[in-house]
Structure formats: C-alpha cells, structure tokens
Amino acid sequence: MAQKNRYGFVIDVARCIDCRACLVACRVENEVSLPHTRIWVKDQGLRGTFPDLAREFVPYNCMHCEHPPCIEVCTSGATFKDPDNGLVLVDQEACIGCGLCVEACPYDARYLDPTRGVVDKCTGCVHRVERGEEPACVATCLGGARMFGDFNDPTSEVSQALARATQVRQLVTDEVDPDPNIYYLNGDVMQTGLLPRLPRYTTAETLWRGVAIPAVIAGITLSFLGQAVAFTKQLIEGEQEFEE
C-alpha cells in the first residue's frame, strides 16, 4: 500500500432506503450549488411482475480509485491522490477547468462547475474526516447503508463489514478496473447503468495531449529562452549603459 491509510466506503445495498438524506447532507456540507451534485442514488427500477417484485437503490459517488483514470489525464496536476489517506482530491486553486477528468472518470462522478470554472467531486468530506468525523452522507444515513473508514485498519467499521460479508462487489468490468474504493454488499449492483464505462479520451484531449501540451511546453520554453536571452542582453547592455 502506497499511502498510510486507504479510506473508502462500504455500502450495504440492502439497507439503502432511497431517502436521499445523503444527497442533501452533501450539498449543504460542501456548499454544492444547484443543480449540481457530488453524490447519487441509482434507483434500479422495479424488477419482476406484480406481485413478485424487487427494487434496489445503489448509492454512489467518487470511488476514490486506487488507479484513478482522472489523475492520468489531469493537465494541471490539480487532481491528485492524497498520500495520507488515499482520497482522490481536486486542488481547485490549480484546476484550469479543462474537463478532461470528467470525461475520463468511468463512473461519471465528476462535474464541471461552469460558474467557478473548476471541476468538483466528492472529497470524502476530508475536512470532516480530518476532524475525526464521518463524511456528511455517512453520518446521516438513516438505513445504515453507508459506511466509511480505513481499509488498512482491520478494526475499522469498513474492514469489519468486509470481513463479515458473504458477498462483496466492486463496480468493475474486465475492461475497466481502476480498483475503486467503494465496496458493495448485499445487492445486485452488476447492472448496466452502474458499471464503469471506458474512459473517454476525446479528440480534444488527444489533440491536447499529443499536440497542445507539447506545443505549449515548447512555446513556454521558447518564450522563456527568448526572455532570458533578451534579459541577459538587456542586463549586459544596461550595465554598459550604466557604465557609460
């Protein structure tokens, strides 16, 4: 394990009642502006026919993956995996709002906030976690579906829940497996609509990665060199001037 702690969620699907307290708690706690959201509850709809019916609700948000595709594509270095806790975070001061990570996330767990020009997503309520509190969505979960903690600590609630569980699933496929840190218990989550999609490396991004970034780097380098030359020249000339 690279980092000291590996924080993540365990979600007991059988206990989610779709009350949506987590959705509102997240919005208020993190001042997420309408109509955006950082977390979702996927209603899989009714299965079966009357009266033999089943219905499950699957909460999800950023999976704080071990191998996050969003980090790979980040051009500004704003998206990073916190070395202390493993949470995938966005430094919104550094984010340039290019949106490539939004396309790269196989779970569509990020959004671009056009008013602030930055990407936003679940932070695992890292500010609460650092105070020793649970994330807002976990603290208020009425059904007891959401758990949060350190998978590296065998005594944590999430580790204990995994140890006890008879059925554990990560939302991964053969094609897409970023090793997400949300583990699902007791529910049929391997359904279309929830499974990860292939990261979208768009034309824009390909162009960006293949042409624009090298071009920008080259441009910056050239301009820096030019400036340096000019500056040095000016410095020398200036000195000469001064001497004159």
Binding site: I17, R20, V28, P51, T140, L142, G143
Partner: protein, 730 residues
Amino acid sequence: MTRIGPHVSRRDFLKLGGASVGALAAGAILAPPAAAAARKAGFIDVAGDGTIPTMCEMCVWRCGVLARVRDGRVVKLDGNPAHPHSRGMLCARGQAGLMSTYDPDRVLHPLIRVGPRGGGQFRQATWEEALDLTAQKMAEIRDNYGPEAMIFSSTHNLSQVQFENLLSAYGSPNYGTQRSLCFNAMVTAFLLTYGVEEPARNYDRVKFVLLTGRNLLEAISTSETAELMEAVARGAKLVVLDPRFTKTASKATEWIPIRPGTDAAFLLSMIHVIVTEGLADCEFVKKYVTGCEDIPAAMAEYTPEWGEAKTGVPAATIDRLAREYAAAGKDAMAHPGWRTSNFINSFQAERAIATLNALSGNVLTPGGCLVAESPEAAGIPLGKPPQPAYPRVTSMRLDGVPWKYPLVPLKLGIFQNIREAILSGQPYQAHGWFVSRQNPVLSIPDRARTVEAMGKLDFIAVVDVILNDTAWYADVVLPEASYLERYDPLNIVDHKLFLRQPVIEAQGEARSALWIYKQLGERLGLGEFFQYEDEEDYLRQQLAPLGAELQDVKYKGYLEVPVEEGDGEIVFGTPSGKIEVYSETLAGAGFSPWPTWEEPPAPAPDEFYLLTGKVGQHTQTATQNNAFLHQVEDEPKLWIHPAAASARGIEDGASVRVTSPIGSVVVTSLVTEGIRQDCLFLAPGYGHASKGLRVAYGVGVSDSDLHVTYTDPISGGQALSQTFVTVERA
C-alpha cells in the same frame, strides 16, 4: 406501578402538567438577540462561528439538531446524537431545513390584503397595524356573534400550548387540528383499548413486525426508521400490508398487496387463528384483557377463508402469518400505524391491531408495541405562567364533537366538519378563522369547498413562515420566525426536556408564535393569560419547579430529569384498568364492543381506488417550496398498473385525466407493476395554488381536488382512500 396513559405522548400533545408557578419569575429580561445569547452561552465565538443545539421542525418527529453557524448564518444542520429521535442523523427534510429558513419566498413582514381575497395582493404593514387589525376583527366577531363564531386552528407546533391558551381565553370551542385527516382512527382506537394515545414502539428484540400500511421508510420518523432497518438487517421478519409496492415493501420479508379497505378483515382473521388455536399469551391476556374468555366466540366468523374472500389474500397465508406472529411471542409487534385516515372502517383495523398486540403480550417488552412512558416522566413538574380560569364555554362545537360524535377526543376533533359547518351555517354561523402554521386549503378534502367556505367568513388571519395556500386567502398574514430563529416551549422526550432555541437572528420582522399569541392576547384584553415577558421568561417559568437554569439547558440543548423506576405493576388508563378488547364504552355509544368487520364501499368495475401516501423528501404540503428538497424529489406522478394503463391506451409518461365525484385533475402517468390493478396512487402534497411559492407553484396536482369528504362516525377520521375515480388519456 406503571400506569399506561393518559400521559404525555412522545410525539406531541405537550401538556404542561404539574404545579404552576405563583408569580412571575424574577429578573425577567428582554430577549437578547440570538447571537448575543449564543455567545453568552458559549456556543459561538466572537466571529459568530460555532455549534448550537436545537430542534428540527421539518416534520413532527422533532429530532435534535446541532446547528453549525458561521458569521451569523446557519451553514449546516446535523442530527444531535444526544436526542433519541435523531441519534446523530437527520432525514432529507432535516438536512434541507436551512433552505426553508433561507427560502427567498419567506414572509418576513406582516402583510395586509389589498385586492380581492385569494387574489394574492398584499401590502407590507407594521406589526402594530397588523396586530391591531387582527385583534380588532377578532374582538368584533366576539362582541357581535359570540366567541364561538371564531375558529382557531393549528397543528402540532411546539407553541401549540399557547395557541390553545389563546383560544381558551378567547372562549371559542372551535379548535381545528389536522388530526382527523391523519391519525384519529389510531388514537381513538388505542385510547379506547389501552387508554394511551399513541403506543411507543421498541425494536430492540423484535422478531416479527407487521406494518399495516405504515410506510416507515418513506413516511420517515428518523429514529424509528433507522430502528426498523436495524431490526430487518438483524433478521427480523417484516410483513407489509399495502396495495402499493412502497420502498418499505421493497425491504419486507413479505409484501401483501391487500385489497384496499380490508386490513381489518386480514387482522381479524389473524386474531381468529390465534385465539381459536390457543396461541395467545394466555397468562398476560387473562390478567390484563377484558372479555378474555369471550374473544374466541366473538371472532368465530373471521376464519382465514372468510378473510381470503374479503382481502384477496390466500387463507393459507393468513393462517401461516398468524401462527408466525404468535410464535414470535412477546417479540411480535403489530405496528399501530400513523396516518390511518383511509376508510370508515380504519378504526376497526386499529382496534384489531390493538388486540393483536394484547394477544402477544408485548406490552412493556423490548420487542413490542406498548412501551409506556412511566407516570413520573409524564408528570415532569413543569411550571407555567400564572393565569386566571378560562371562561366557561357553553356553545356547541362546529365539528359535532361530542354532541354528534361522542367518542372523538376533544383535542382531536373533526377538521373537515368545521369546513362543512361554515358552509351550512349549522348549528350556527362562523365568522372568523385564525390559522397558525396549518394549510387547510390543501389538506382538507375538496379544496373548492374549503375555498368557498373561506369566502363566507368576515375575517381570516394566518400565522406562517411562507405564503402557503391558506395564507394566500388570508386578510392578514403574521410572519412567524422559522424554527432556527425562535424559541418554543420545552418538549419532553424519554425523560429529557429538549429546547428549541434560535441559532440565528430572525430575518426581517419575523417573530415567534409565543410573542405573536401574547401580543394578540393583550390586544384582546386577555393579557392576564399571557404573563411572560418574553420567550426566555416563559422558559424560565417552565423550568422553575425543576430548579434548573435556562442557561444550562441552552448550553446542552436539553435537561435530563431523574425518574423513579416503576415496580412492574401495570394499570391501563381505561375505565376497567385493563386492555379493553371488549369495550363497554363503545357498546354504550351504540357501536360494536368488539373489534368487528364493517364492509367498506368498493369501486365500480371501471373505477379505481385513489390511494394517497407519503414521499420521503416532503412533509405534508409544507416543504415543496424548499429548493433543496425540490431538487431531490421525484416528479409527482400518477401510479397505474400496466394492465389498467394499456386497457385505456395510457403510456408511461402520458398526460392523463383523473376524475372523481367532485373534480378532476390532469397529471403525468407512471406505469408501474408496483401497484394493484384496481388502484391509482397520486404523489401527495403538490398542486399548490399560491403564487407566493415560486418553487412549488405549478408542480403536480393536489388530491384535495379529488377527495370526497367521508367521516368515520366513531373516530371522526376522514376516509381518504374511499374516493373512487376514473382515469383516461388527457
């Protein structure tokens, strides 16, 4: 001895029991601004940041809240772990509570109507002017027609005790609560059977939970919803009777999509099996239940086969569930339900539920239903301001209680009958209506008739935080401070006194109900009934007999009151002191003394039952304008089974017209397997007509445009599911 009821219920009916204080508490001071008080109490620092304990008001469960405040604004609400109703959690509504306080549509200044009534034209007025006008009109009505010509209505607010004080001091018998639209059947049945209004539930050891229409995962009571989920996760059996596949049904061990109106038949058949097979807790029943020996004979006809014919549930299923219920012994619970205003016979279903609990002997057990609060807790000697005796009221009540409905408790009443009495002018003509934090225009069946009734009144005043549909028709609107901006009287929960206190300054000119009622009382010459200087003085007088300081209660948010343990003897608050499965009181009033079957009306072949219910993101008609809740709600639709839909050419998402004997609405369809073919379900709480609600206006439709007014003669409950409708493509 443990006496079961009448006592202070967990949920409401805050009664100020015990000794009254002889004089005004000394040192009464003017209410300091919230921030100053919070700073003094040590909640917030100089910058105005901190956490303040208070109580939620997004529904009536009243969870404890820890309000986080920054720069004088509340920025987050968390459940208070110290409060047994929240246990550290808040539901979606509780989490969204600050948006109700900061709703851009809040009414923040007194308003006086300028255009025609219902036209929505108001002008801003001063408190002085609005209060003077309200008091002047109320005094005129009292002088010209007698105090009974003024109707007072309010529901479930913590300041209800002072609302009742105002109406009693004024001298009107006409008290409109919302209760007959909600839980009259449950409360009346349990009062008659156990002498308790609402039995508490305990899920600690429960192994079998029977929910009769109680949609606990969508009609959320935070702690109880959580306790049920814990019990289910532990392996308790959950059986849900509901014509609709609710979210609660989705978590059930067995969902029984019972024919509407036949819950009582199902339950009576269960009782039949239990008593004829000798499966009841005999020791308990013999000791505590009236008519014990005669129960088998009284239930003889309700065989499972009879039950199948009524309910559509196979006899074998009823028989099996009865045996499983009995096998769980004291760890079986037949949940009493809450909104039980479904059919005229809902009272009998509640009596059967009360009986099932008695047969399992689960009273006062940690897996059971009737966990009574001890009398010591009920009798916490709270103080109250001194006041003279109320004037004697001799006039009849407009709602027919008790002169036409002898068994309906006075404090429940029959709300829908008040509207009818305004229209008929019988037994006398009402002239004014003072409404506080209530929305009869949307809640009483047949909205058009309610609006028509309002048109017959000389004066309507409304106290509220937003311009709801009833305020829209008011002559004067008095803006109440939101629950995060005001004090209310203390609330008792599990031997603790909880405090609602302001966490921010009241916005605009909004004021507390305690202040508003006192101001009106003084202007009506009733000042001696309101002997408190301000809200804090009122609370100090409440706390005086306990020797507690308000400052300490403010700091913790509650006060723990030591309680003596009972000695295990149980006496029920009924005439016999026993559980009255056989009720002389009912017999004396001309009704069946036993829980019994009353055949409900059924829809014609082309008609449907129109079901109502709850969604987990809203409370009644009060929260639809909250933008945070609006964002997480489902679009309100009409549920219809695919077979019923295709027979009418209705596709999912189609616009459909629903027509009842009193009106019709056009709404979007939701074609779903999750409902019986003979039922429709209309998402509740929508269809606001007030343009003062910019989020809620124009969203969905109201079932008050469809519901026919039917009243149960025993409990006074409105039968909301007894309206039959047709549906077609719009």
